[in-house]
């Protein structure tokens, strides 16, 4: 199976390891990721804050490229890219005049059906088909994770079809449970990590992150699993700083769903680049039990 693949800026820069892990894990699941040709930035928060038209037009161009790729599904692992692109697609479907205006300027027109999928949606289908379970080799038994979805994955500025519960998503928990690992329920699944405020308003962002961290520790978690590169980076890179500021003793590694899956699939530790996190979590993968 082939999927159109939009990595976005994060997966090429600060979270390059997420791109590597995605390629490896989907390869194991017999899914080939075909990166969009000549893709551009989704606009992220910057476009939306400066120009309503740009906020739609930027991701729209990528939708056009994907639509002309011949593939029916576009996988976007980054939550922000996914949100911007999905919103643009549905906005244009509801506003044909603007779609026409944008299409006029596009080389590759937005045309025909295209399913914009988050990484959890695609993984969910492999779970349902049994492919994912078949690919599992050994279970990292030390993991006591909380699943952290972040604020962008299920919540949008207007109505779009969401495949999970908006307030209490369970897609990632289901995957983790299917791996035989208990995903601990907690309060902060969809709370904001501070996102770009970590750079320009660290006081606010640190406060938000400290609350996320405190609840995860109180629930007995020993790691956080996420799908969003922004959330992962914030909670990982600033953990020392915000924990010191809020007198939090413990530290929790913050994993992508892909590295946890990759390890369970028997992929190589170094290939997955698990040792590249700020908070070291490699110990948690020291004990592996084969699946029956």
């Amino acid at each position: 199976m082939q999927l159109a693949y939009y990595p976005g800026c994060s997966l090429k820069q600060s979270s390059a390891l997420y791109d590597v892990q995605c390629q490896l894990v989907f390869n194991k699941l017999n899914i080939r990721l075909v990166e969009l040709e000549d893709w551009n930035c989704c606009g992220a928060t910057s476009a939306g804050k400066t120009d309503d038209f740009l906020a739609i037009a930027m991701p729209a161009r990528n939708v056009g490229i994907a639509a002309q790729s011949g593939l029916d599904t576009l996988l976007i692992p980054c939550s922000a890219c996914y949100s911007r692109t999905l919103v643009a697609q549905h906005y244009l479907a509801a506003h044909p005049e603007q779609k026409e205006e944008i299409n006029e300027g596009l080389g590759k027109k937005i045309d025909g059906p295209l399913k914009v999928s988050s990484i959890l949606e695609v993984l969910q289908t492999t779970l349902e088909s049994g492919v994912l379970t078949d690919a599992l080799v050994s279970k990292p038994v030390r993991l006591k994770p909380v699943c952290y979805y972040g604020c962008m994955l299920t919540r949008f500025p207007f109505d779009v079809p969401v495949s999970d519960d908006i307030e209490n998503p369970i897609g990632m928990d289901t995957l983790i449970e299917a791996m035989g690992i208990h995903a601990i329920d907690w309060n902060y699944k969809t709370n904001c990590c501070g996102a770009s405020a970590a750079v320009n308003d660290p006081d606010t962002a640190f406060h938000l992150m400290s609350k996320i961290m405190t609840d995860a520790i109180a629930r007995g978690a020993n790691c956080i699993i996420t799908t969003c590169p922004m959330c992962q980076l914030n909670l990982d890179a600033y953990q020392e700083a915000f924990c010191k500021q809020y007198n939090i003793e413990e530290r929790l590694p913050v994993f992508f769903i892909t590295e946890v899956l990759g390890m369970a699939m028997g992929l190589d530790f170094h290939d997955l680049q698990i040792d590249r996190h700020f908070i070291d979590g490699t110990d948690l993968f020291k004990e592996m039990e084969p699946y029956e």
Partner: protein
């Protein structure tokens, strides 16, 4: 397939009722008591619906089960009601007067004919299943009854959970059943029912709070739904009335109620207001506080919709007497604190500050919605649903569907509370009576009673039965100790305890005991005689005893409730009370009661919509009606109303019913007159009108109406631009407003503030109705409504939303800072504080419309005195029972409808008027009326005609006879005993309260 006839034919004398909650039950009793056969079809294995799950009811705090249980038993025993429980209608054919229903009966696997309801099967069943009735908070067995007081009380095997059905072995129930009632071979059956009319009362579904995951239901164990909280409060519930959190069984201190969960929420829930949640949350908070004084309740609400009779007063009491905190805020998230199980609620204060507050427990006030299959249900019966799935009805015919002969009642017609449901139950019964008036009496059977055993001269053989009331009594009173203490007293032939004395199987037990032990007097020690005495009297009558050889000893109100936690004191007192009643009943004699003829005609006082609707319904039922109106023309207040909220034409409706009323052969209209003098009693009233006409009638409906308040507030009399809402409505109807006009409205003028501190109920909708009309006629108009709470309850919420969408501005104010009105050159300027902008604003308008409230009609005071009818503090008539007798008066034969009872909307007035006609029809359908046995007996030999009794009797029963001495009219006597108290010669003695009986009680006590 078997056929259940009933003589079929176009004028059938039977009615099928689909849905066995309180609304259907009221309709069933009214119809069966007035000469109609009732086929009662219920989906659950027992009657009861939602009301049986509730603990107490607002605003009186009465126990729900205690009110409904006697009615359930009454239906079960009624010779003219056939209950088909665990059954569903699968097909409907035919026309009014001649319908055929196909009904599928699910297998119970227990033979109802053999089952005695002893319950041994349930005790022996090894399989535990999560209880739906207890909302998942407790377990039941795989063979079970829905509730302890189930009707019918035959248990049911839950096939999906039965060990025998699922794994092929067990059959414990069969082994232990001495009646051989278990039948594993039972199968689904289909029957046909021929009937004249169909009443749909399928009731409601509760909104699933798990749809709002931000509130944590199903996720955090100490977040419960309001129906779960009812079970937690209930003495027969999972925690036996102790308030504990389900998560860890700890007593919570701070409890938060979150209102409007799934209601007024078109995005994630239902767009309508569920009408009942503000009040039930208030009730739950008050009752919780009563159960455990350390509880600190907080209710988070959007708008306090205490729109019903005495509701605002109840909320004020909750605040002032019980310390319930009401906080206007919408909760955006409920987080569970790790480790403690406490819950942090996040909300924004009015000024925008975001707050997090921690509670020990959270209750989600979930709303009402139609059943999931509501659209298919409507299709099955061939009626049209509205867009939400409720049955579509018109405000002028609230219980009629668009298919003739098929009626709706209760929450299927729209969200409503218990009294409104009961009103519609009687209303729909009245409508069916009118449809099938010719068939009345053709399909009923008379109950055969055994010959009364002669007991005079026999020595007293008293049976004493002490009721546990589940744990309601037994958790405080040691019931076994009471039995032990009285069983060897002289004349006590038998004494035992019963789990629920009022349940259907207990009635059988009591009958058997009377026969087996040759008892000639029976005492039940349980609850209040007000609700339960008639039930036990009927039971001993069935056993062949005169029904007045019964005595009820109240050990619940007088012992277990008021001495909670003091088992020793309460038990001692209970023993004392039972001993006193034993002493009393020894002296009881059989009482022979009188019966009187009935004048089969009605008098309706008030020629407004209520009076005319009642009159037309009774006239259609075939009874002559005298309609009295003090004004020269019919129509009442509705003459000034042009449109309803849904834009129906009121004037066209009014013209139509006035014409029907004036031309109906059974109606005599008396306009321009009032009642001058009244005499007689239930079944036989004589009335003299001011024009000299004499009217004989068996019943009276008081529909004397109300008036609109004439305001003095907000400079009403100082400018032509300041008008009332009614005057604005007239201008809208006449198209007499400038295009693009600025219209401001102020709500609650002369309502909800001393000295008139009640909600007039209609004003919010009147304002919104007019605002929508103005905006639709001229979209450039600027309409601003200054309000305290917008009370568009039920489906009326749709119009509140429509008004907002049309651009009507709503600005809230508090009574401490009401809007200030200035008269300007161009019109009016209104200053108020805006909570959203957080500053004062001024709105300029061409017109200011004041929403003035309703007042009782001035004639009500005189009518009240004339007929000895009580009124509440506001001057409205007080019904016999707020919940279950909403159109009856305590005085028999007199009923109330419309604004004379309380402020209400047109559709509610029509419902209540139909209900009053239904209740009056029950009475007029009787050939003879039995007079109560509990009356004063007058001994002329002792009487000195001092006239003490004559002066004090509230019912005018003693009268000066032709010989100049006092005689006593026993038919008028209500048995109050005032005469017996004042008579210096002891010439008056009240049956079963004779001096010798009371003295025996006192002797037993001291």
């Amino acid at each position: 397939m078997s056929d259940q006839t009933s003589s079929a034919g176009p004028t059938a004398g039977s009615v099928a009722i689909v849905g066995g909650g309180i609304g259907g039950m009221q309709a069933a009793l009214d119809l069966a008591d007035s000469g109609f056969k009732v086929h009662f079809i219920q989906k659950d294995s027992s009657l009861g619906g939602t009301m049986v799950m509730l603990d107490k009811t607002f605003p009186t705090g009465d126990c729900a089960m205690c009110m409904i249980s006697p009615k359930m038993v009454e239906i079960a025993r009624h010779p003219n009601v056939d209950i088909h429980a665990f059954a569903e209608v699968t097909g409907v054919t035919g026309a009014p007067g001649d319908f055929t229903l196909t009904v599928k009966l699910q297998p119970r696997y227990v033979d109802a004919d053999k089952c005695t309801g002893c319950g041994i099967c349930e005790k022996k069943c090894p399989k535990l299943v999560t209880s739906e009735f207890e909302q998942g908070l407790a377990k039941r067995k795989a063979i079970y009854s829905l509730l302890a007081q189930a009707v019918p009380n035959t248990r049911v095997i839950d096939r999906d959970n039965c060990l025998y059905f699922q794994r092929g072995r067990c059959r414990a129930c069969e082994k232990f059943c001495t009646a051989e009632a278990i039948n594993f071979e039972d199968t689904e059956k289909e029957i046909r029912i021929h009937t004249g009319a169909v009443i749909l009362s399928p009731g409601l579904n509760r909104h699933d709070p798990a749809r709002h995951q931000e509130l944590g239901f199903g996720r955090w164990p100490n977040v419960v739904s309001s129906i779960q909280f009812e079970r937690i409060l209930s003495a027969s519930g999972p925690f036996m009335g102790e308030i504990k959190r389900p998560g860890d069984k700890i007593h919570p201190r701070k409890i938060a109620w979150i209102q409007c969960v799934g209601s007024r929420d078109p995005h994630h829930g239902n767009p309508w207001c569920s009408s009942v949640c503000c009040m039930y949350a208030t009730k739950q908070a008050v009752i919780a506080k009563e159960h455990d004084h350390s509880i600190e309740p907080t209710i988070f609400y959007m708008e306090m919709r205490a729109f019903g009779k005495d509701f605002d007063k109840y909320v004020d009491r909750a605040k002032d007497e019980f310390g319930v905190r009401y906080h206007r805020a919408m909760i955006s998230a409920v987080h569970e604190e790790a480790g403690t199980g406490n819950l942090a609620l996040r909300y924004a204060e009015t000024d925008g500050t975001v707050v997090e507050e921690t509670f020990n427990m959270v209750v989600l006030s979930i709303g009402l919605e139609p059943h999931a299959d509501a659209f298919e249900f409507a299709k099955l019966f061939g009626i049209t649903p509205n867009e939400h799935g409720f049955a579509k009805t018109s405000p002028f015919a609230p219980v009629a569907t668009d298919r003739a002969g098929i009626y709706v009642t209760g929450t299927y017609q729209g969200p409503k509370d218990i009294p409104e449901t009961v009103i519609q139950g009687s209303a729909v019964a009245g409508s069916a009576m009118a449809l099938l008036s010719e068939g009345r009496g053709t399909e009923v059977v008379q109950k055969e009673l055994p010959v009364e055993r002669a007991v005079s001269g026999e020595e007293s053989r008293i049976g004493v039965l002490v009721c546990h009331c589940g744990i309601n009594i037994a958790q405080t009173v040691n019931v076994e100790a009471v039995v032990e203490a009285v069983k060897d007293l002289p004349n006590v032939a038998y004494a035992a305890d019963l789990l629920y004395a009022c349940s259907q199987d207990s009635q059988e037990t009591i009958k058997e005991l009377v026969r087996d032990h040759n008892l000639n007097r029976v005492i039940v020690a349980s609850c209040t005689p007000r609700t339960h005495e008639p039930l036990f009297q009927d039971t001993i009558r069935d056993a062949g005893l005169n029904k007045y050889l019964f005595e009820l000893a109240d050990i619940r109100e007088q012992c277990s409730w008021c001495h909670m936690g003091q088992t020793e004191t309460a038990t001692e007192k209970a023993i004392q009370i039972v001993k006193m009643h034993i002493a009393k009943i020894r002296n009881f004699e059989p009482i022979v009661t009188e019966s009187v003829d009935v004048t089969h005609a009605a008098m309706v006082i008030g020629g407004g919509v209520a009076g005319m609707t009642s009159a037309l319904s009774l006239a259609d039922q075939g009874f002559p009606v005298h309609l009295i109106e003090n004004e020269p023309v019919l129509g009442g207040l509705a003459r000034n109303v042009y449109r309803t909220l849904d834009n129906s034409d009121v004037q066209a409706f009014l013209t139509d019913i006035i014409e029907k009323t004036e031309n109906h052969p059974n109606i005599t209209v008396h306009t321009g007159v009032t009642v001058k003098k009244t005499g007689g009693f239930v079944g036989n009233f004589q009335t003299a009108l001011t024009d000299g006409t004499q009217v004989d009638h068996g019943t009276i409906i008081v529909a004397a109406g109300g008036t609109e308040y004439d305001p003095t507030e907000y400079r009403y009399n100082e400018s032509d631009n300041i008008i009332t809402q009614r005057e604005l409505e007239k201008r809208i109807a006449a198209d007499d407003l400038p295009p693009g006009a600025g219209i401001a409205m102020i709500q609650c003028v002369g309502s909800r503030e001393e000295p008139v501190n009640y909600c007039s109920r209609i004003c919010c909708q009147d304002a919104i109705k007019n605002a929508i009309a103005v905006k639709k006629a001229s979209p450039d108009s600027r309409v601003t409504i200054f309000y305290r709470d917008i009370r568009t309850y039920g489906l009326r919420e749709d119009y509140y939303r429509m008004a907002r969408e049309l651009g009507v501005l709503f600005i809230r104010f508090v009574p401490e800072d009401p809007p200030e009105v200035t008269i300007t050159d161009k019109g009016v300027a209104i200053r108020a504080f805006d909570y959203i902008l957080n500053r004062d604003i001024v709105i300029n308008a061409d017109y200011l419309a004041l929403s003035t409230g309703l007042r009782p009609h001035p004639s009500i005071e005189k009518l009240g005195e004339m007929y000895k009818l009580t009124r509440n503090a506001e001057g409205y008539f007080l019904e016999a029972h707020v919940k279950l007798r909403p159109v009856d008066f305590p005085s028999e034969g007199i009923f109330v409808a419309g604004l004379a009872h309380a402020p209400k909307n047109l559709d509610e007035t029509v419902s209540q008027a139909l209900a009053a006609a239904g209740r009056a029809g029950v009475l007029l359908a009787q050939d003879r009326l039995n007079v109560s046995g509990i009356i004063a007996k007058h001994d002329r030999d002792l009487c000195m005609s001092c006239l003490a009794c004559f002066r004090v009797c509230p019912f005018d029963a003693p009268f000066i006879d032709e010989d100049g001495r006092i005689s006593h009219n026993e038919i008028k006597c209500m048995g109050c005993g005032i005469c017996a108290g004042v008579c210096p010669a002891k010439a008056f003695q009240v049956n079963n309260f004779r001096d010798d009986q009371i003295i025996a009680m006192i002797d037993a006590a001291v």
